[in-house]
């Protein structure tokens, strides 16, 4: 049987884009935010990011090895999880905390549910929330000697806005990222560059981020201050841009239907608005996203597209 030929069902061509190249694009899109965080917070930020990524990749590798499953670390999805998790950490965090988060993200949230594509919550965000609950003090410490804020009153712009003060930081400062916050969320500029890269390279569609931001803007306008500057301030501070471009668009945990993506974006905007305006803590992006993750199957069920030629039937 020397002349066995390759046969398979059509089609016989495959697009060049594969899971790995998509993940690589997401990593590239996070480079500006990563670079800015190292510039802004110092080399310790790089250490946090590298060790968190390593923790995620190692967790995935060891788990799959122990469970005798195919090793999937080469698809780079664990790297993406590690980066998102690390960029969600406050700058002064002891490095073992995000590393523990990485183990939780990969093993509890991702692998226990069947690995890539099967988790119902964004692993990085679920881990962040796990850490927020477990280490509330350390996770909410945004003081940083390096950038010259008073170590005792290092309040984030969002926390200031909560008290009605939106003048301590200028919008330009917020845009560039010269503010306290988590590693990756501070520079709106870097995040927008990454977001545009993802949209231009067609890695993500603008449907979820734009619906999310627009809904939140409307919500903040109605329930917050009725001023344009306030809306811009709210959008540029906290994790909403990072969340909208990099976390809400996570393929696995967002709706696959087009209409569903709009619904999902609206839900995210509403929940973020509720948490930020009426919640106990100033930030609400992470909770809004993981809560919305849980609604995805329901959203999909009611937003199935009408098949071609079956419109109106």
């Amino acid at each position: 049987m020397a002349n066995l030929r390759n046969v398979s069902s059509s089609p016989h061509f495959r697009n060049k884009t594969d899971t790995k190249s998509l993940m690589l694009d997401v990593i590239l899109a996070m480079i500006p935010a990563t670079a800015f965080s190292v510039y802004h917070f110092g080399i310790s930020a790089l250490l946090i990011i590298v060790l968190t990524v390593l923790s995620c990749v190692a967790s995935e590798y060891i788990w799959e090895k122990l469970m005798h499953k195919p090793i999937t670390v080469m698809d780079l999805s664990a790297v993406v999880t590690g980066m998102i998790l690390a960029l969600n950490m406050p700058p002064e965090i002891p490095v073992w905390i995000p590393m523990l988060g990485g183990v939780f993200a990969i093993i509890v949230v991702k692998q226990l549910y069947g690995g890539i594509g099967q988790n119902f919550m964004n692993p990085a965000l679920a881990a962040r929330c796990f850490l927020l609950i477990s280490f509330a003090g350390l996770m909410n410490n945004f003081s940083s000697a390096k950038i010259g804020f008073d170590a005792l009153t290092g309040a984030t712009p969002l926390a200031m806005a909560r008290t009605g003060d939106i003048t301590s930081y200028s919008l330009f400062q917020l845009f560039l990222g010269n503010i306290p916050g988590t590693l990756g969320e501070v520079s709106s500029f870097a995040l927008i560059i990454g977001g545009i890269y993802l949209i231009v390279c067609k890695v993500i569609s603008p449907r979820i981020p734009l619906t999310y931001l627009a809904t939140y803007a409307v919500f903040a306008f109605i329930f917050g201050q009725h001023r344009g500057t306030y809306i811009v301030y709210e959008i540029l501070s906290g994790g909403i841009l990072f969340g909208a471009f990099f976390m809400a668009t996570d393929y696995v945990t967002s709706p696959i239907t087009v209409k569903g993506q709009y619904v999902y974006g609206i839900l995210l905007g509403l929940l973020t608005g509720i948490f930020r305006c009426f919640g106990a803590s100033p930030e609400g992006v992470s909770y809004a996203i993981i809560l919305s993750n849980l609604f995805v199957p329901l959203i999909e069920k009611y937003t199935m597209p009408k098949a071609f030629g079956k419109e109106g039937k």
Partner: protein, 472 residues
Amino acid sequence: MSLSTFKGGTHPYEGKELSEDKAIRELSFDGDYVFPMSQGIGAPAKPVVNVGDHVLAGQKIAEAGGFVSANVISSVSGTVKIIQPRMTTGGVAVNSVVVTSDGLFETIEGIGTERDWTCLDKETIVGIIKDAGIVGIGGAGFPTHVKLMPKNPDAIEFFIANGSECEPMLTSDYRLMLEEGEKIVEGLKICMSMFPQAKGIIGIENNKPKAIEHMKELCAHEPNIEVKELLTKYPEGGERQLINACTGRFINSSMLPADAGCIVDNVATLAAIYDAVALSTPLMQKVITVSGDAVKETANVKVRLGSSYKRILDEVGGLKEGIEDAGKYLCGGPMMGQALFDLDVPVTKPSSAICAFIHDEVSENPTTACIRCGRCVDVCPEFLVPALMQKAAAKHDLEKFEELNGMECMECGSCSYICPARRPLTQSFKEMRKLVAAQRKIKAEERKLREQQAAAAAAAAKEAEEKKEDNK
């Protein structure tokens, strides 16, 4: 001018440049010609010749085996060698008439005789097309005479000539439009003469500017025919997508184009109609493309039906030097063509190409887990959700598959092409669609049986009642 198109779809590597400048040349050779009794949709034909009979080119060797079925015509002169199941491109053996060519290509009397079709009535034209064994030679293989007999001919508003040739690598329709465009226009006019209300549209993708220009020139004095420039996108030439792009109308899987006032025929089919009606020549030859990165010489060749693919590839020049065997051979193009494990299979009416590739992209890209990226949803021209359909397919959940409109899938392959996890989406849908169709058939038969039993029981009860009455 905005280009007409449909929503969804994808744009794979076109590969047209490999063979688009190769003029059509005729290719005939001696040896055996194999004519499968089933060459497209419908019931298999029934052989009307016996082993040992001498046949001529153009002679009917098998008769349509039902309403939706087509005659089979010998493309060569020679002797019937055997009638037996032979391997076909689909990978199944089909009962076939094998004719050993005498190398003379003698034709039956009257072939090539010009006929003035303008004085023929509709029934005669359809009769000629039926006798000529013409089916949709663009790929589907649906008997053309059946298509030309819709329930309500006056409701046909558009007669669409499909010149989109959206399948990558294929250039046979392109060459035909350039070299035999007159035949296509005449064929279209013959068809339109049967539908007084119909307007003619020739749809061509805009990656074929020369063909568009040429067809426009030919139609310059045909006020009732419009050449429509379509956006180059796969599957622009899918029947439902083409109707949508040309007229804005939608049909689903349970509708016929005629329900939307349309009839669609491939340009090659229209040329065959012209040959049959105006030149008294039945369907004996077909232009096919020889292409792919593994072939030495690409070509567009007019071959006789029943020719072996292997022989065609050899005659054209075979594989590039240094390549012992191609990574994959295809009958047809890369999006909807069939992989061949045996090249010694015959060219049939819907055949369009033989492609040979150095690499097999399918086996070189192993399947990984679905990441729900939604690309399949974006490209699906039928607006389905392939990712969820495959979940149903993996569980063999026929009900769920139907609920997700799986039966609307046209198996175009766009989802499998775009999938970053290289999942065999289309493949699983093909299987599920067959299962659902089979189950529907079983259910219909069960219903029929139940109705018969109920009717029988009712009749028996009535009889018993009557007997009782009588006894009283």
